[in-house]
Subunit: 382 residues, 2 copies
Amino acid sequence: MNILILGGDGYLGWPTAMHFSQMGHAVTVVDNYFKRHAGLELDFESLIAIPNLTRRTKAWKEITGKEIKHYIGDITDYNFLKDVFITTQPDTVIHYAEQPSAPYSMISRDKAAKTLQNNLTGTLNIIYAIKETVPNCHLIKLGTMGEYGTPNIDIPEGYIDIAHNGKTDKFLFPRQGGSLYHTTKVQDTDMIWFYVRTWKLRATDLMQGPVYGISTDESAQDVRLTPSFHYDEIFGTVLNRFIVQAVCGHPITIYGKGTQIRGYLNIKDTLACVYLSAMNPPEGGTLNIYNQITETFSVLELADKVSAAAKSLGYEVTIKHIENPRIEKEEHYYNPTYTTLKGLGLTPNLLTNEILVEMLKTVLLYKDNISVDSIFKGIKWK
Amino acid sequence: MNILILGGDGYLGWPTAMHFSQMGHAVTVVDNYFKRHAGLELDFESLIAIPNLTRRTKAWKEITGKEIKHYIGDITDYNFLKDVFITTQPDTVIHYAEQPSAPYSMISRDKAAKTLQNNLTGTLNIIYAIKETVPNCHLIKLGTMGEYGTPNIDIPEGYIDIAHNGKTDKFLFPRQGGSLYHTTKVQDTDMIWFYVRTWKLRATDLMQGPVYGISTDESAQDVRLTPSFHYDEIFGTVLNRFIVQAVCGHPITIYGKGTQIRGYLNIKDTLACVYLSAMNPPEGGTLNIYNQITETFSVLELADKVSAAAKSLGYEVTIKHIENPRIEKEEHYYNPTYTTLKGLGLTPNLLTNEILVEMLKTVLLYKDNISVDSIFKGIKWK
C-alpha cells in the first residue's frame, strides 16, 4: 500500500511510519516541525534529542534498507498538500498533523486561533485533496476520547441510537470537549462526518486516549530512531510526565483530587490499532469510529503505579496534589466501550510493573537531559 | 443598552441595527462588506441598490435624528475587533457576521476554507474579546435550524436528555448540517458551548430558519433604509427567490420533489426575536438555545402560495422541478419545537396571502433591476 502519514515527525507519527515501512508498505511522511518550533518558543524539548526527518529517514535506510520519503511543509497550504497527494497517490492517509495539546490551546487567543486554524483547515484540505486526487483513499484520523468528555452515561464507539417521543434515530454520540483543542477535534468529527455522507468518502476516526511509552519494536533498533518523548505540561502525556518526575526527584503532581478517570494505551498499541484500521477500510460513505484505549485508570492509580515501580528501583517518590489548572469534573462516571479494535485483532500491551520499570530505566539513561523547569509552568483554563 | 451588531450591513444586520436604535439603544455596527465583494466576484446584487454604511447611517440620522455608529473592518482581525469592544463597551453583541450561504460554501476548496476561517475564527475572536474586555456582555449568536438536519425524531430547543443503559444525562441535541456552511454553525455551537461552560459567559444561540420579507417598520420610512434583498441561488433565501421568479416570469424552481420541510419566519419576527433575546439575557455559564421559526412549510407549499398570490395579481406562473443540486433527504420527518420565543412575547407575522402580495408589489417596483442570469447557476453539492 501507499501510506501517507501527516505529522510524521511527531511522537506517534514517526513510529507509525517505521512500522508501516517495516511491514513492507511504501511510506511518505509530511511535517511542518510545528512542535519543534513551539518547543523553542515555550522552552520544552524531547527528553532524547531526535534527528530531523532528513536524518531520521537516512538512518532508517542505513539500518533497514527501507526508504521513507519525507516532505517538510504545512498541510494548511492546500497547493503544497495537493501536490503531495498527486505525487504519492496514497491508498491510506493517516492524519496526525494536528496541534495536539489541550494546555497549548488555552494559553492565549493567538494559540487558540492557531489550534483552530491548523486543525480545521488542515483537515478540510485533506478532505479536498482526497476528493480531487484519490477519491478512494482511506482517511484514518486520530480523534481523542476527550471528545466525549465525561458524560453520566456509557460511552459507545462513536454513535448512539436515541429514542425520543416514540421515534428513534441514530446519531453521532453528542460530544463536548474539555478544552479548545478537544473542541477542535469535535469540530473535525462534525466536518469529516459531513463530507463522508456527502461525497461517499472512506474514513476511520480513532478516538484515542493518552498514550504512554518510549519505545517500539522498530525504534529499539537504534537510538536515532527513538520517538520524541515530552514530559512537559504542554506536550507530555500524563504517564510519561509521571515517569520523568519520579526519575528526577520531582513530586508526582496530581491535578486536584486525581479521581479523574481516562482510558490509556501503550504506544505499541497505537501502531497496532492504526495498522489494523488501515487493513480494514470501510466502504465509501462510511465513517468508522473506534475507541482506541486498552484500559482505564484514575490519575491517582497511575501515580500509585509509577510510585511503586520507582520505589522497587530504590527511588524515593512523593505524590503531590495541586490546585487543578483545568476546568473538569474530578469525580464522575466513566464507562467507555472499546471492543472493536480487539475484535479486529488487537492484543493489548497492558500497563504492567515490568513496563513501568523499563520506562523508568530508559528515562534514567537520559536523566541529565531533564529540564525541571519545563515540567510545570501553570497554564490555567481560566 | 450598548448594542454591538457584527455583520451590520447584511440582510438582517442593518434592519436589526435600526430596530434597536429606534427603541432607544446606543447601536454600533461592524461589517467587512464581504457580501458586496462576493457579489462583485460571482455576479449577484441586491434587488434594490443599498447605500454603503456611511451613507445609510447618515440617512438614518437625517430621518430619525438617531445615530448608529459604524466601523468597516474584519472581525477575524482580533486587534481590530478588540479595539471595537474597548471603544463601544457593549452590553450585548449580536453576531450576524458569518458567511451565511450553503451553496457558497460548496463551490470550491477556497470558498469552503473561507467559510470555515471566517465563521470559526470570527466567533473565537468575539468570545476572546468578550472575556478580555466585557466579560459580562451577552453574546447573541445567529445559529440555524439547519444545524439539526432532518432527524427522524422530534427536534427540541437545543438540548436533549438521553437515557442509555439505565443512566441519563443532558446533552446538546446531536447536530448534523447539510452543507459545509451548516457544519461551521454546528462547530460554532460546539465552541460557544465550551467557552460558556469554562468561562461562565452569557450566550443565546438563535436557531433560525430561512427568513423572508423585504421591509421592516424602520426601513419603510425611506428607500435608502431598505434591507439588502438577494434573489440569487447563493444568498437569496427560498421564498424571496420564488417571489422574484414569479415577478420576472422565470419558473419557480423546486429542487427535487419539493417535499423538503423547513421552518420559516418573517424578517420582522427576526428583529422581534433578537430584541426579546437581548432583553432576556441568561445567567453567566448558561447557553440559551431557541428555535427561531414561526411555522413550517414544504418547498412545494411555498411555491403554491407564491403562485396563488401572483396569479391573484394577474401573473402567469409556472412551477418547475429540477434535479436537486444538494444532497438532502427530500422525504423526511420534521417536527421541531419552537415555543420559547413565543413564551417571551413573540407575536408571529405568519405567511399570509396579503404579505405575499405586498412582497410581490414591492419587487414589481424594481422589476427592471432583476438579473435573470443570477437566479440559478447550478452550484452542486457533488
